[in-house]
C-alpha cells in the first residue's frame, strides 16, 4: 500500500490528527466523555493505520517492540505506584486525598496519573497484539 498515492497522502494527513485526538481525549476525560481507555485505543489505532499503509518495518523504526512492551508494563506500575504513594503519605491504598494539602487537588492529581497509567497500558497492549499478529507469516499450504 506504500505505492498508492491516495492512501499515502490521506494517511499522512490523518495520522497526526488521530494521535492529537488521542491526547485530547486523554486530558479532557475530566470535562467530557473520554479518559484513559478511549485515549489508549485511539492512539493504538493511529499507529496501526501507519503500519498498515507504510509497512510494519517502518513503524518499528520509531516504535520498536521493546518500547511497546515496556509501555505495557509501565502503565500498570504507574497505577500501582500512585496507590502506594497513598500509603506512603499516610492514607490507605489508592487514597487520593492525601496526595496534596488540599484534598480536591489531591483527587485531581491522583485521577490524572492513573488515567495516564491506564492509557499507557491499553495502548501498549493493543499495539503489541497487532505487532504479533502482523509479524507472524501465514503458513504455506
Amino acid at each position: 500500500m506504500r505505492n498508492d498515492l491516495i492512501l499515502r497522502v490521506v494517511a499522512k494527513l490523518l495520522i497526526p490528527f488521530i494521535l492529537l485526538f488521542a491526547v485530547y481525549v486523554q486530558f479532557h476525560g475530566d470535562f467530557g466523555p473520554g479518559g484513559g481507555f478511549q485515549a489508549g485505543v485511539i492512539f493504538a489505532a493511529g499507529i496501526v493505520l501507519h503500519a498498515l499503509i507504510f509497512g510494519l518495518d517502518r513503524t518499528k523504526t520509531f516504535l520498536p517492540e521493546p518500547w511497546v512492551e515496556s509501555i505495557m508494563a509501565l502503565g500498570v506500575l504507574l497505577y500501582v505506584g500512585v496507590g502506594l504513594a497513598g500509603i506512603i503519605l499516610g492514607g490507605n491504598f489508592l487514597d487520593f486525598f492525601v496526595l496534596d494539602a488540599d484534598s480536591i487537588t489531591g483527587q485531581h492529581r491522583g485521577i490524572f496519573w492513573i488515567e495516564i497509567g491506564v492509557a499507557l497500558t491499553v495502548a501498549g497492549v493493543m499495539l503489541k497484539i497487532f505487532y504479533m499478529f502482523a509479524a507472524r507469516g501465514p503458513i504455506d499450504e
Binding site: D30, P33, V41, M72, Q107, H108, I111, G124, F133, G137
Partner: protein, 180 residues
Amino acid sequence: MESLIIIALMVMMLVAVWLIIQSRNLFGVVVLSGVYSFLMATVLFALDAADVAMTEAAVGAGLSTVLLLGALYLCKSEEGKPLHRPWFPLALSVALTLTLMAGTVGLPFFSDPMAVIHQHVVPRYINDMPAEIDVPNIVTAVLASYRSFDTLGETTVVFTAGAGVIALLRRRRNGVTNAK
C-alpha cells in the same frame, strides 16, 4: 423522535446480526461485525452513555475489526457448509431466551426515576462529587476515584491479555516470514 431513532438503529442491528448468521464468507462477516459495533455505539450514545459509546466505537469497530482481519489473513479460510441441521441449537437458544425473558418480569420499566438502581449509592456519587472531587465527568470520577480498585483490576486484565498473547505467539515458525 429520539425513540424512533433508537428503534430504527436497533432494527438495523438485528438485520446485521441476521446477515452474520447467514453469511459464509468470513471477510464479509468481519466487516458486518464492524458495522454492528458502530450501530451499537450509536444506540449507546442515543441512550445517553457517551463514554461507553466512544469506547465501543473505538474498541469494537476499530481494534476488533483489525484483529479479526489479521487472524483471518493468517487462517485463510471460508466457513464450511454446516454438517448438522440447526434445529436443536435453535431450540436451545429459544429456550434460553424465553427463560431469561421470564426472569426479567421484575425489571424496572424503562426510564423510571424511582427504579431501585437510581437509589442507594448513585445519588451520593452525583450529589457529593462536586464537594469531594470536583470533576465534571461523573463517569471518570466514579471510574478513577470511587471505584479505582475495579479499574486497577481491569488494567491488570488488559496487561494479562497482552502477556498471554505474547506467550502464545512468541515463537516464529522456522523459515516462514511475512514478505512485506
